[in-house]
Symmetry: C2
């Protein structure tokens, strides 16, 4: 399997479905709908929807069955980027090589576009038609997982802790600072990034009605590759090619707490590798189709090795 | 029935349940949880949860059955106020007589607290236990209604249109402006305010598994009292006692488009009354318990006559 081609093919499905879901939201104020579509169209790897599809397919369905759920998760991810880029937050001008939402639409409409993407993730998730294979209980469980992983018990708390950590590196160096920094960082990474990647594989399993044991194993796998993804991101923010990344490296500029800034790039690389090594055995124990499991393993490798 | 006492008693139920739901969101970043609780504790009439409870009781249950859903709707309403008050939006310093969230916690955390209140409205709605009377299909339908009424097909578009209307009154006066203003205003009122009040009575009916005909009639009733509520709000912003309102009358200050500014206070009062007269007959035709129907009618009267 060429995982690059696999991911591009799967992402293309998501890219063609997203604008349809936005157009279906009848009665939208036109400029708001435009701002929502603008941020969704910025592209990216569509990692979360692709993960959800592969996780779902382990238990026998086709990724296409759950396209609304996959798009809903991408909408939640996109809202979080729009709000994260705001002047009051990271104050970023570029995202994926294009001006950020508030640069194009103004701050007020960018806030509202984020709010609408978040809310209508639930509209898309809950109001779409699914094949019979997806049961109402599975849909309810997936919606529960999405809300819990994205809310104050999850992603938003990661963002809040990230604010708290700003300027952390300006304090005095030393072993105590290093310990406190590592604890704060692992909380931030777990919630800011890993929770939504966990939701991706979790929702796939829940929508498929997977046995609880397998859903849990996938959830742990999701957490580990989510953490690996964020450590890799920290490293790329320091050593990555800004053109490939399509963003301006604001973490380093803002003197942000990252694994790279706290431990150095080499130690951060070792941590990312350890997370990958920990993730794969758990995935191997999940009972189901071998093809989608191999795809998930290859995506995990990709997450570790990626250059953007 | 003394509707004042009824509303206070019902609101007290909501006030005591809301902090419990926030505390249940395990793992929240402490300052974020504090900001969420701060805005939820600001009080207010809890109109939407009270309406939901009364609507549900028409079909035989007790309002207490659906307290998580009622609190979820109040969380959505509260998030919308937190974001609406932001410097990039209405830039309000006071809300219900207290400093607004961004004045206390800063802009970034206020944005995140709003995001978390919105997301966790779905956590609370979907992850709570309900008595058997509330069926999974009813819960799914209620969650669908909440997302649709709060999203880009609903409330957020009302906010976006409200931004669009800013400075409208600075343009040249005349019949064409009046026509355009009225069209814009009715869109704003329908979505910014009426949609969430509609969701309140709609969700009550859906959670109760009400017959479709009755759920629809209640939805129309909700829309009309929601519109009436907003016209009354426009009037109060001009003539109301600022101390009773607990806010600083930013609409007039910002030269905002309102019924009062466009048509004058007297004509606005006539519109509010017409909406009330239109709402009541539809409610009377709903089949179910007389007590809760009388409560809804009395709340409609209250909405029309309120002084804050």
């Amino acid at each position: 399997m060429d995982i690059g081609i696999y991911m591009k093919t799967r992402a293309a499905l998501v890219n063609s479905a997203l604008p349809r879901f936005i157009n279906n939201l009848k009665g939208s104020q036109p400029r708001l709908a435009e701002a929502m579509a603008y941020s969704l169209a910025a592209g990216g790897k569509r990692l979360r929807p692709v993960l959800m599809g592969a996780s779902y397919e382990i238990f026998g369905g086709k990724a296409r069955d759950i396209l609304p759920a996959a798009c809903a998760l991408e909408m939640v991810h996109t809202y979080s980027l729009v709000h994260d880029d705001l002047p009051a937050m990271d104050d970023d001008d570029l995202r994926r090589g294009r001006p950020t939402s508030h640069k194009v639409y103004g701050e007020a409409l960018a806030i509202l576009a984020g709010d609408a993407l978040l809310t209508d993730a639930f509209t898309v998730l809950l109001s779409s038609k699914y094949p019979k294979r997806v049961k109402p209980e599975g849909l309810l469980a997936a919606a529960r997982a999405l809300a819990a992983r994205a809310g104050a018990g999850g992603m938003v708390s990661g963002q809040a802790a990230d604010l708290e950590a700003e300027g952390f590196l300006k304090g005095k160096a030393g072993a105590a600072r290093r310990e406190k920094g590592l604890a704060l960082l692992s909380y931030i990474h777990l919630h800011k990034t890993a929770d939504l990647i966990t939701a991706a594989v979790e929702m796939g399993a829940l929508l498929a009605g997977a046995p609880e044991r397998d859903a849990k194993a996938l959830s742990v796998f999701g957490r580990d590759i989510g953490l690996c993804f964020q450590v890799a991101d920290d490293i790329l923010d320091v050593v990555g090619d800004k053109k490939k990344l399509g963003k301006s490296g604001s973490d380093a500029r803002n003197n942000k707490l990252t694994y790279a800034s706290l431990l150095g790039v080499e130690e951060a690389k070792r941590r990312a590798e350890a997370l990958l090594r920990r993730a794969l055995p758990g995935l191997a124990r999940v009972r189901g189709a071998a093809g989608p499991k191999a795809a998930l393993a290859a995506i995990a490798e990709f997450v570790y090795r990626r250059e953007n």
